[in-house]
Symmetry: D2
Subunit: 308 residues, 4 copies
């Protein structure tokens, strides 16, 4: 089944191929200029910090539906082992970890999604091999930090949590920006809150995983027009799931990652930050969210921190 003309029209509108050169592998992260970073730094006023990462734990959100996307398993490789054989001297405990890169809080690399044999900037999908992403891997992203803006769509629509399956539109994003009293600027890092994370906090993993409120086809132009540098949500899918049109599965992944080169973040825990923003009415902050530089990685774990 071919993708519908509506999708292709939108793709043409938001496409960024070539915008930063034919060899570019970073897409909208190029918008993180020194100036954008300074704007981000200026948004840190009080020094109050919010960690947005899920713990890396075997009790993480994954339930095994995606083969290999396993919750982090951390095991001991030494346990109070005396270096010299004498426990009154130095002893060490070390560990190792195995995990699905996309299991917890992470950024998708631009190479994570493809269609019609292409990834971002027109590179062939075949540049992704068993050795990983030769092009547009997460190791090409570099530091992801700048001004963060919380778009609390749930609060803007007057609910604690969007209905699972709610499709977020450009109007919803504008409403959230209005609530925040913020004009989103080129190079901002946007955190879109659905409230879905409340399900995970409440222990409802199945409910957390699906269905999922998220960005819809009708939100993509907004992201392009505002020249957002990267966007993350508090869900596992990022976009609305199930998808809206039978003939366009997970279209936002394709429009963001492939067409725009917009790096996407998932499983960001926005609850404590959102409560604070609601409290003081300030929805901007410095966001520091640099992924682990996995060589040729299709994604990268990240421990994001917001500083207000």
């Amino acid at each position: 089944m071919p993708l519908p003309e509506e999708f292709h029209a939108l793709a043409r509108k938001v496409n960024n191929w070539g915008r930063w050169g034919t060899e570019d592998e970073r897409g909208t992260l190029n918008l993180l200029t020194d100036e954008a970073v300074r704007r981000g730094v200026a948004a840190a006023r009080t020094g109050k910090r919010f960690s947005l990462a899920l713990p890396l734990s075997q009790n993480g959100p994954q339930l095994g539906f995606i083969p290999g996307r396993i919750n982090p398993i951390r095991t001991m490789i030494s346990l109070n082992e005396p270096l010299t054989g004498d426990a009154s001297q130095v002893c060490f405990s070390d560990d190792m970890v195995v995990m699905g890169v996309q299991a917890a809080t992470h950024w998708d690399a631009l190479a994570h999604a493809s269609y019609d044999g292409r990834i971002y900037n027109g590179f062939g999908a075949a540049t992704v091999t068993a050795a990983g992403a030769a092009r547009c891997g997460i190791d090409k992203a570099g530091p992801i930090l700048g001004r963060g803006v919380l778009l609390d769509v749930a609060r803007a629509l007057g609910v604690e949590r969007l209905d699972s399956g709610y499709a977020i539109s450009s109007d919803d994003l504008s409403a959230a920006a209005d609530l925040a009293g913020v004009a989103v600027e080129p190079g901002d890092l946007v955190l879109v809150r659905t409230g879905q994370m409340r399900l995970l906090h409440a222990g409802d993993k199945m409910g957390y995983l699906a269905p999922v409120a998220g960005l819809s086809l009708r939100s993509v132009e907004w992201m392009r027009e505002h020249d957002v540098a990267a966007a993350a949500t508090d869900t596992v899918v990022f976009e609305v799931f199930p998808w809206e049109r039978d003939d366009a599965p997970l279209p936002v992944h394709l429009l963001h990652l492939v067409e725009m080169g917009l790096t996407q973040g998932q499983n960001f825990d926005l609850e404590a930050l959102a409560a604070d923003c609601a409290d003081d009415g300030i929805y901007t902050f410095f966001l520091s969210a640099t992924p682990e530089p996995l060589a040729n990685g299709l994604g990268g774990m990240v421990a994001p921190v917001a500083i207000k």
Copy 2:
């Protein structure tokens, strides 16, 4: 062989047990107050960024001497896999990773080292089990960010790289602070440069691993007096190796992690940052270096970024 009295005397001098309460598991990270963070933010002036992380790669620094401390191995769990079976629609490439937590750029958790049955704050070493660190795990650290100060000891001593095995003293640290023109303040994050990373850049892994220039017994009081929040170096061992006194193996680990509760970072790549500091004469910056919150982890991977 008992640890020498000199060690114990030093331990008593620098000890921080109880300083932040009997239940404290964060040690000197408590010095990262809102004020210290604001001081850090103020040190970001231009927005120029420096990534201090080694790539997570199977070509990483480990050579297999420490069983289980393996370089990161990232393998594909799906490769341009069409979600609906139709490759003209959305296809995904996902990966997983297995690695020694301490293999590349990382922070040691306070629970990483013990002696005489104790970890930081007097908790029993037996609180570390096959399930990891019940106390003082890296998941207790929280955000690590604030004002970073580069103490370029190599440059202060007029060399590109300290001799492998050079033992850094308090005087050396003071000389580097003088070079930097910085008064290190409580809650600062200190990066100590030896230049050892040049060996790794040059492909000399064996040389990089040992011997190692690093902090010595004679540097510990300096760290305590300046109330440093956390310290990292550009080596795999952090302290000088081989150690100086036969009767005190790896004493700085014990004095930092166990006695002071000072979180230590290893394998920070300081070369590009150091070149820039030498260039503009400015050795302070905002340092964002929050570890992956591995539940009960004995360490945490980190992708540190300095912003000048």
Copy 3:
């Protein structure tokens, strides 16, 4: 809660500590003498083979209830990679695997279970460390092969599958031996069929995992009297689960592994073999079931084959 006197009395009766010397780490596997092996070889008459192993697959029986006991995840480390860069010459595809040792078809090492600080033969439980089993690890087992006897308890009791939670007694084992027309001899390898595997074949993983029909306290003397070399079942728990007495959790593990030194096998797929035995009335065969020799392993994966 102390273990009940009934348990301790039984423990004294079946105990094998010291029987094969104070340094023995193999327990009843010592009964696999050359003669016992020859008896096994003689039981292979037609050459017909039955694989008793579950596939090592991410779709394996584990559902995540036991942290770390993950189904096997096999990923590619190279994929038709041309050795010389030229795909018209030799290309290789390699893989790696990560799995819980006890995830699929496996033998428990004697060191797998302990109580009151002891494992088999009185060795301290503390001989098991983060480095694994210094004593009684699976690497001490050696070849496990000899005469296999299928005790089809389900068929002996006239059902296709024992009720989940059914507690198998000595009488049941005798009934199955009668059905088989076999006198179990010292050094035989006994496969006890409950039919529970049918649940897994039918896709009912939850039903397969619990509750479980299995060997009960009232079967242990039978195993000891017949001097069985090793025993395996077609379930994940091996013994009846939930256990029969509140004050004696999983007692058969303790009596077999710790007291008798009887190596136990789990998740053996006995369905095809059982059908053939029912067909031709012959319940003995050569069983070849040597575990992977994992150094210091608490268990070992095994690909058992029965030859009739």
Copy 4:
């Protein structure tokens, strides 16, 4: 560089495509008929057993030259953990393992090698994907057991160990069969001893890995003429390395795996077995060497046992 005509001529001579049907994925393992298995069983006379597996250990033979082919790392997921919280009752120690499938003693799946886009029986190399071998995976092999014949080439040539890099010919194999006094029959399992394992036993891993004595182009017809069911050696490469002709890298892999469908085994420890055969002059035995049935695996770990 195209493969030379000599190679192609040999390929045509030994090719088995279609011999067992167009859908066959087992190649010469089809020769393991009931009769061949009975012949194997008859070769077990005394019941004496020899384990041919290397221990699965982090001290295994791999030195890191092949990315991802890591020695087995076995870590604890529980350590004498009381099931009910009471250590006077049942406690469990469990483990997990991560390893390169081809790291220690293993069989290559037929899908392990390809050239010109083909694997065994003409299936496309593209049937191997990130999900593994859809065709000719190790899970298709089934039980590998039958009559084993030790061809002790080193002994036949009057040395303890063949020179590293020695290229074994058909004449050498015949000489070893003569020494053994055995006529190799269709469906036999052949173990070719070079003595290279002595280097590993002596701790010389580098010497063990390369160069390697092994089967050469001039041995392939012998294997085909004798209709061997599977062949294994005591080296890491199986065939002679470095290869003999610049224009034909690792040709035996292609001729065995791709053209003949002959399953190959590596890292079989033949030392103790060979000593016994030299002792009693009997070079045949029952060989039980069924691989772990890794779903879609490109190879399978195996714990082979010879019974004389």
